[in-house]
């Protein structure tokens, strides 16, 4: 057992092992002061099963840890001839199941070595950092104390293409340093005549405690189970997860024999697992999978965050969001202009939340024209326009689980267009040129209409060009007005199917379309005024108004 701090916890755990009859050899880091080492040692004076081995300086990533485990193993194998399995543990390991169960488990598998051992050639076992280079470069500088020197030396060696030769017969393997080896395997490693050579090689390998035994065990072991009996989880930075009091149930359910790292102040964990009451004989195989899922989820959330959430501790740069918004939503441009009752119709058919123009100049038109919407979002114009993009992301985030639809148009605040364009969740349907319908039906002066039409047309064509650009990620459908009214039901059917209709059948009712008689003439008038409206498509113009006299009809011939 390797100990370097929190000696009181180590004492508890060591006592727990010896109480079950397991001899323990303790290695105490030479960094621990002599005074505290002496008190620690004296505390075990009455225990015949405890030995202390020579002390080494254990710095993370260096040879010291392997040296410590070698001294400890030699002492253990020499002093206790009955030992058949050796379990490597640390001061922050905690046995989760009664020691007797572990003894029985190992006794039933007398020839099996439990050591995680993975070839790096095939599998990315490491979390960031170096893999094969651990073996082929030299690491004379401490990573913890001389980070700059360490990094520079690595770079230098890469540039000079320095390669160390791996001793013959060794195939580099990596794995967790918390192993459990049989006497045969361990003594074969320790008594190998070539050991000085191997030791010399591993002395300059980076993090040798994760490769020394893992590599050598492959040479001698007859039966390797490549997994660790110690449960330990690593986060995205490759640091071990720490278990706290509230992980009690989780650890219980894992059925693992030993877990690390345990937070030294987790009194409840130590109390529970070191008391004999924990001994419910289950005889189950260790099932770290259950814990895996919990921690994999935590790690994923840490690295990716929740899509579409912008908060004080999650502020992705534009373009790096991993999901711009939280859920799919639909944007309709021109539909409310063409159909007089589009909103209620859509709400009825799809059951989705249908808003009016959320970005209308006068303020957001929430469904039912509420002043506030879910997530305390205010319809107030000033608040919306202060941060128009977060208005939409907030709305979608706060209404997760309910499809949002809203109307958009060239008269609205366009600041949100860029966001929708790069959002995979946006489903945008446009009837281009439909903005002309309300103009046509309004009762305004023609000069104003002409100016307004020119402005809207400019905005809409920009928006459409943006959506058609390569970078656009939104799902976009664009019809010209002329195209759309040729077979409106077919197109509406398509859209509603994508949102999901209430009943599986085809949409039966159609929304009411505005009366378009005379619309073609209206467009022609705009053209005649020099304003070419092109977004509507080719509208079958009514025959040009006639101003010549009707030709006399052919007289009918009555036979």
């Amino acid at each position: 057992m390797l100990v370097h701090r929190d000696l009181h916890r180590a004492k508890q755990v060591a006592r727990h092992w010896t109480a079950a009859g397991c001899p323990v050899v303790l290695h105490v880091d030479s960094n621990v002061s002599d005074a505290s080492f002496d008190t620690f040692r004296n505390a075990f004076a009455d225990d015949p099963l405890v030995r202390f081995c020579a002390r080494h300086r254990c710095e993370w990533g260096t040879w010291g840890i392997v040296a410590a485990s070698q001294s400890a193993s030699e002492l253990l194998l020499g002093e206790f001839p009955d030992v058949h399995h050796v379990y490597m543990a640390s001061g922050s390991c905690l046995p989760l199941r009664p020691v007797q169960e572990l003894i029985d488990y190992l006794a039933a598998r007398p020839r099996t070595d439990f050591i995680e051992s993975v070839t790096i050639a095939d599998v990315p076992w490491t979390v960031g950092g170096l893999d094969i280079e651990r073996f082929t470069l030299r690491f004379p500088f401490s990573w913890k104390r001389n980070r700059r020197l360490f990094d520079r030396y690595v770079r230098l060696q890469r540039r000079l293409r320095v390669r160390r030769r791996i001793p013959d017969g060794l195939v580099p393997h990596l794995g967790s340093q918390w192993w459990c080896l049989t006497r045969q395997t361990l003594s074969a490693i320790l008594q190998d005549p070539l050991r000085p050579r191997y030791d010399r090689f591993f002395r300059r390998v980076w993090i040798p405690d994760e490769s020394y035994y893992q590599t050598l065990a492959r040479r001698y072991s007859s039966d390797i189970q490549s997994r660790s009996l110690t449960l330990s989880k690593f986060d995205h930075q490759g640091k071990p997860h720490v278990f706290y009091d509230d992980h009690l149930q989780l650890l219980r359910r894992s059925d693992c024999f030993v877990a690390r790292k345990i937070w030294p102040r987790a009194d409840r964990l130590y109390r529970t697992f070191l008391s004999d009451k924990a001994g419910k004989m289950k005889q189950a195989e260790p099932m770290p999978g259950r814990i895996d899922r919990v921690f994999a989820k935590a790690a994923e959330r840490r690295t990716w965050g929740r899509a579409g959430l912008y908060m004080h501790s999650r502020m992705p740069r534009p373009g790096r969001e991993h999901g711009v918004t939280a859920a799919p939503y639909s944007v309709f441009q021109g539909f409310a202009d063409l159909f007089t009752d589009f909103e209620p119709w859509l709400a009825k058919v799809t059951g989705a939340q249908v808003h009016g123009h959320l970005y209308a100049p006068a303020g957001a038109e929430f469904a039912g024209r509420q002043r506030h919407f879910k997530g305390s979002l205010s319809a107030d114009r000033a608040q919306r326009d202060y941060a128009p993009q977060s208005f939409l992301t907030n709305l979608i985030w706060n209404t997760r689980g309910e499809r949002q639809c809203f109307q958009f148009g060239p008269a609205d605040n366009q600041a949100v267009a860029g966001l929708m364009r790069r959002d995979q969740n946006a489903q945008i349907s446009i009837i281009s040129g439909a903005w002309a319908v309300p103009l046509f039906r309004s009762n305004r002066n023609f000069a104003d209409l002409r100016r307004e039409a020119a402005r809207l047309q400019k905005i809409e064509s920009l928006f459409i060009a943006d959506l058609r650009a390569v970078e656009s990620k939104a799902k976009v459908r664009i019809w010209t007005l002329a195209e759309f009214i040729e077979s409106p039901m077919e197109h509406l059917q398509q859209i509603t199917e994508e949102i999901g209709t209430r009943d599986k059948n085809r949409v039966k009712e159609a929304p009411t379309m505005s009366d378009l008689t005379g619309f073609a003439q209206f467009l022609q008038n705009l053209k005649n005024q020099g304003m070419q409206p092109y977004l509507m498509g080719d509208f079958a113009a009514d025959a040009a108004p006639l101003n010549r006299a009707e030709p006399p009809r052919k007289p009918f011939l009555v036979r």
């Binding site: 959330r301 506030h372 997530g375 202060y386």
Partner: protein, 327 residues
């Protein structure tokens, strides 16, 4: 930025003359202790629970500046075994809203400690705060290489007029104020310090609807592994040197963060609004906020149908208001 930080530290150094010791137990501070610093004025109603809450989280020592209280706040503080109290009658506003005093105390006592800066009406919570103390949190943060922990100020309010409720001193304010706004909150980074600017929430919705740019700043960095060279710039919203403001990093992941439950809207705040309006000790430009105090004096009802009832921390994590950040 470096000169700005030096200037701030110099101001704080000078401000030490404004403080008068009332009870100094700072000798009890041991290495590794977690400290809390705070400025208070007439907080007798919130104080008992404030102390209970933070003691439960594992704060070992409180360093408090009492700004001329007349309701017994100072006396109560002086009786506590783990509180050191200083007193001053100088202007809160002139001391950069008390920051000069606190920076001095941090400079003097908090070097090398994890230090919490909170007001009497702010209660820090974070993921798993019911089972894991601040010692656990700070040790983990340090293991991750983080030396600052961010939190968002979340306004709590009651249902119905503010004065329609009863809060007895020592009572958990969240029993009275049990509603909050789940949104909208929006953030951006500010130059040149790289600090976050988070706005939105209740006070914007009710009081500043037509001028959202003046809405209160809600992000804070209350918990920092303090170094005597550090300086807060603007309450604890921004910190120098600038790299500390990157405690909220991005680019995509959820960094760990907490919530400061803000119990400003206790019943007493209604009559205090008139006093505060006269004192003009808050805000950079107090005149602009006269309307805010007037509205507050009218005993408004802050509740609305989209407000949520305060649950436990899991609810707040689920809503995306704070994050466990892989812990």
């Amino acid at each position: 930025m470096r000169w700005k930080r030096r200037r701030l530290l110099w101001r704080s150094w000078r401000s030490r003359h404004q403080l008068r010791v009332l009870s100094d137990r700072s000798g009890k501070i041991a290495t590794g202790d977690i400290l809390a610093v705070s400025v208070m004025r007439n907080e007798i109603a919130r104080l008992p629970f404030f102390l209970t809450h933070y003691r439960r989280l594992g704060v070992d020592h409180f360093l408090v500046v009492d700004n001329a209280s007349d309701d017994g706040t100072a006396e109560l503080l002086a009786e506590q075994p783990d509180v050191s109290v200083w007193q001053t009658d100088h202007s809160y506003r002139d001391a950069r809203f008390g920051l000069d005093w606190l920076t001095w105390l941090q400079l003097r006592y908090a070097h090398g400690h994890w230090c919490l800066m909170v007001d009497a009406d702010e209660m820090l919570i974070y993921a798993d705060h019911d089972t894991r103390g601040l010692q656990d949190l700070t040790a983990w943060l340090q293991g991750q290489g983080r030396i600052a922990f961010g939190a968002m100020l979340l306004d709590l309010f009651p249902k119905g007029p503010l004065s329609g409720h009863v809060h007895t001193p020592g009572q958990d304010p969240t029993e009275v104020l049990d509603w909050f706004d789940p949104g909208p909150y929006r953030a951006r980074r500010q130059r040149p310090m790289g600090n976050l600017w988070l706005q939105g929430g209740t006070r914007e919705r009710v009081f500043l609807a037509d001028s959202p740019h003046r809405a209160p700043t809600l992000n804070k960095l209350p918990l920092v592994c303090w170094n005597r060279k550090f300086a807060y710039v603007n309450s604890c919203h921004a910190l120098l040197p600038p790299r500390l403001n990157a405690a909220y990093d991005g680019p995509g992941g959820d960094a760990p963060s907490g919530i400061l439950l803000h119990s400003k809207f206790l019943p007493e705040t209604v009559h205090r609004a008139a006093i505060e309006k006269e004192r003009r000790q808050h805000f950079h430009d107090p005149r602009q906020f006269a309307a805010y105090y007037d509205q507050l004096s009218d005993d408004p009802d802050l509740w609305h149908p989209d407000a949520r009832r305060l649950g436990d921390w899991r609810h707040l994590v689920e809503l995306g208001l704070m994050s466990a950040g892989g812990w």
